[in-house]
Structures are given as C-alpha cells and as structure tokens.
Amino acid sequence: MSRVVFILALLLLTGCEQYQQVKSGRNEVGSFSVTTEAPIWNSVPSGHSPGSLPTWTVDGVTLNSLSFVSGIKDGSPLVTVHDKSKYPVFHSDMLPNEIAELVQSTVARLFTATISRTGELKPLTISGQPGFELEFEFVTDDEVIRRAFVGGTVKNGELQVVVFQAPRMHYFEKDFGHARDLIVSAKLP
C-alpha cells in the first residue's frame, strides 16, 4: 500500500514539473484572467521560471517568456527568491514611472542584466483601470540583447503586472503581437 502511495506521490510530483500546453480561450493565471487566441503558449514549471513567477513560453524561457506578477502588496518584491533583501520592493502609492523603474531594477537583478535602453512608458487601461505599458531593452550575461514589454496597473493597492521578454533579434517580434493582445485584454477581479 505504502509503495502505491509513494509511486502516486512521485507521479504527482513529476506531473508538477512538466511543461503543459495552455488551452485556447480564457485562462486564470494568478490574479489575471487572460484570453489566448492561438494554442502557442506552454506553462513553465515553477522551478524553471524566472523568479518562480507563473510563466508561459512559446519556445522555452531562454527564447521568450510571459510572466504574471500578481497581487504584490505594499513592501513586497516582485519575485519569489531566496534573498529578498537584494530586490527593490513595491509601494502602493508608486506612480507608473516608479513602477517602471521597479520592474527594470528587478529584471536587472534577476537576469544579472544591464538595462541598455529605457524605452517608452505610456498610459494603458487594463481591466478598466488606469495603468501603464513599458518597453525597454536589457543585455543578459549570455551577451544577448533582450526586449521587454510590460503592462500593469495597481488595483486595491496591489500591483498587477505582466512581463513579456525575448531576444530582440527575431523572437521578440515573432510573438509580441500575441503577448500584447493578451496583456491589453487581461481582466482582474
């Protein structure tokens, strides 16, 4: 009996560590409810995702990732990491410029990257809430220039952000349209 329980537990754990295709239509990820038109995304096991964030990818996390940062409360960093003291924290009275800087500093530390272009910051309405969209570029340790598109808002004092990032060469443009549509149409409770 105990052997059966052990094998079942093992199977369950193994199942948790697998990439799984995300079905088309509406999906719940963290606080977000998002719609995917094409079945291109795969959910990434938490142990393989940047900052242990709920993350989707098309071709693997080194080539593209869509990370959902949801329900960040005042005084918390954006990522779940061992040494949180190294990461800047969110404050509920932050303005979009400050959140943009918070996201970039988090990315710089998480990927051991240098922000090579600050890019554009514009207003964006997400789920009926005033929010922002941000685009910037960073260079990672593997000497690849990556581009990121971020959409976010603060609702009920909690930060809700989605980050799409991919190498600037080919991969960013390849799936940016899908990622942007998903972010812009995201719903929050």
């Binding site: 005084g75 190294k86 990461y87 800047p88 924290v89 404050h91 009275d93 932050m94 303005l95 979009p96 410029n97 400050e98 943009a100 970039q104 500093s105 710089a108 530390r109 240098t114 922000i115 090579s116 600050t118 890019g119 554009e120 910051l121 514009k122 207003p123 922002f132 260079v139 000497e143 690849v144 220039i145």
Partner: protein
Amino acid sequence: MSTWRRAALAMLIGLCPATAAPAFDALSPSLPTNYSPPDGDTEGGLWMASRQAEEEIAHSPRRIADAALETYLRDILCRLAPEYCSQIRVYVVRTPYFNASMMPNGAMQVWSGLLIRMRDEAQLAAVLGHEIGHFLRRHSLERARDLETKTSLLTLFTLGLGGAVAAGGVAPAVAQGASGGAQLAALGSLFAFSRDHEAQADKYGVQLMAKAGYDPAQAAAVWRNLVDEQNASGEKQDGSSYFFATHPDPASRLETLGGYARELGGQQTIDAGQAHARYFAAVGAHLPGFFADELHLSQPGRSEHLFKQLLDAKFAPGVVNYCLGEVSRKRDGGKLSDAALAYYQAALGYPDAPPEAHRAIGLWKLKAKQLDEARQHFTAYLEQAPQAGDRDMIDYYLGLTEKAP
C-alpha cells in the same frame, strides 16, 4: 620638536642607517617586446583562447564603442609601458562592477563600474598599471603552467589514496578526509600562487605609474576607496572567501602600496588638474548611463557612499546630486523624503543637472498634491527632454494636475 629631541633623532638616524626607507627593488618585464608565441605550446594556446575571447568582447552588445574613450585609456597604458604600446588594445564594457583585466595577448577590458570609481587619471593609471604588470610579467602563462603541474599532482594524489583504500590500508573515512584536505590545500596553493601574482602586479603597477609621472600614492587611495565602499555597504564579507581570494588582504595591501609610494615618491610630473580634466572629458558623456546602471543594482548603502565621494570630488555635481536623490528615495522605500527632495533641488543648481531632476520633483509634488509645482517641473522636464520616452505618461500626469480643483 625640542633641540634635544632633534639631536637625539639625528643621532639615531646617524647610528641606524637601516631605519631609512629601503630602496625600491624595481621589477623588469619577462615579456619581450613585439612578442608572439609559437602555436602549439601552452602560451600559444593561451593566446589563441585570448584572441577568441577578444573577438567576443569586440562584438559584445555591452561594449561601449567610443573610439575617443578607448584611445584615452590606451594613451594611459602607452604612457605606463611605452615599449609595449603597439601590442595593447582596450575595450570598455558596460558592466556596473569594479573590474579590469588584461589578456595574455595584450587585449584589455575595462568595466564601466570601475570608471565611476576613479577620482582622477592617476587612480585609473594605478589600476591599468596593475593589469599591465600581470601582462609584462606573463602571469597568465606562469599560472597556466602551474595549473598544469598541480592538476596532475592532485589527480595522482587522489588516485594514490583511492588505491590505498582499495587495498584496505586506510579507513575510507580517513582517506576521504585526507583527500579532501589535500584538495583544499592544493586549491589553496593555486590561489596563493595567484595572490603572489597580485602582489607583484601591485608593485609593478606602482612602479610604472611613478615612472610615468603619476602620484604613486593614488594606488593605495583606490584600494582605500573600495574598502570604505565595502564597509558602507553593510554587506558582510563571506568568511570562506578569504581562503579563495585572489587578492592580498586589504590591510596589508594598503600598507604595502603606501610603502611603495613612499619609496618611489617625489617624481610626480603629470599635472593633476589637466589629468582630471582629460579624465572627465573622456568619461563624462557616459556618466549618466553608468550611474543609472549603479542605481539599478539596488544597493543604497554602497551607492550612497560612492556618489557622496564623487560629490566631494566635484565630479559632475548636477548628475551626482540627482543620483543621491534617487538613492535617498529608494532607501526611504520610495516615500516622500525631504533628503531626496533636497538633493534634486541641489542638482538643479548646476549646469549639468539632468532633466530627470525636474521629473523627480514633479512626481514628488504630484504625490504631495502640490499640483502647481508638479506642473511646473513636468513642463520643465518636457521642455528639456522633448524626445523623452515617457512623454505620453508625463502628459497624463499634467492632465491630472489640471483636473484637480
């Protein structure tokens, strides 16, 4: 000092000539000029690997392709080692940590985090002199040969103990401990060897900078600045790192570098004012970007110490005051802080104040609901930075200042 004491001192000096400063035992290069090693041997392999690494650096997206800055750094290297000038190439890499390194083939990379930690050209010459010291003494080759030997010894030692255990001569736990200890000792000796190289490069660097006419005391000043910054950071030194550290310990290094400077002092011929101006002219345009990288590291203790030192050195005061405001704001958790506001306002008093100082005050005033002032600063920001990437967002904030009663 009393006449008696002066006389006693004179007598002591007369009786004890050994107490005078020892003569500096100068180092000489082991690398021939215009040298290129034959292919196939250890050094040829090192040079081949260096050429590949250089190729990667040359095409790295982090490389700052500023010919004037590279020429400026190369000119310093050529001043330090004129006979080797034709063999030296310099690449500046945008990485926000203190580092410079020279490959065996004469290619040097200098990181941006180093450039913002230099106060003047003499300090830069001290670091470049240290690196060129490694180059002229062919330390990479010595290290590679030593590694070859020690790796073989280590393998033999481990295999020997393994054989003893198999033969039942040594208890496995004892063998494991002995083997582990031996490996640690061998690793320690590898790094100790490297520490010898570092100490020699320190000495050679001071020798070269003094000969070139720089103030040799600035070599110790560089190290003192780094130690102060480390202390200000509040970060604890990793207890295990000393054993594996490749550099001599800070206290003895400071003392040794200071001793070299005293032995070599009095030869300064390079005008410090002109050198400072040259340094600033070469690096100045890049400072806002380099400082932004430092701010992204989210290390307020370290950054605040660095920027305060730069402020004391009257280094780009507008930009540095703005950065101190940013550090202060981040340290206070992004809350409204009088200290941060004071730095932003101080920045605006200098001609090199970045437009972002207006933006920072605008954001502060918007949060404090001081809308007229917020509007003034946002407007000033957009006037000074009409191509700003956040223009649409600032327009949105301006809308907020107008809607309010």
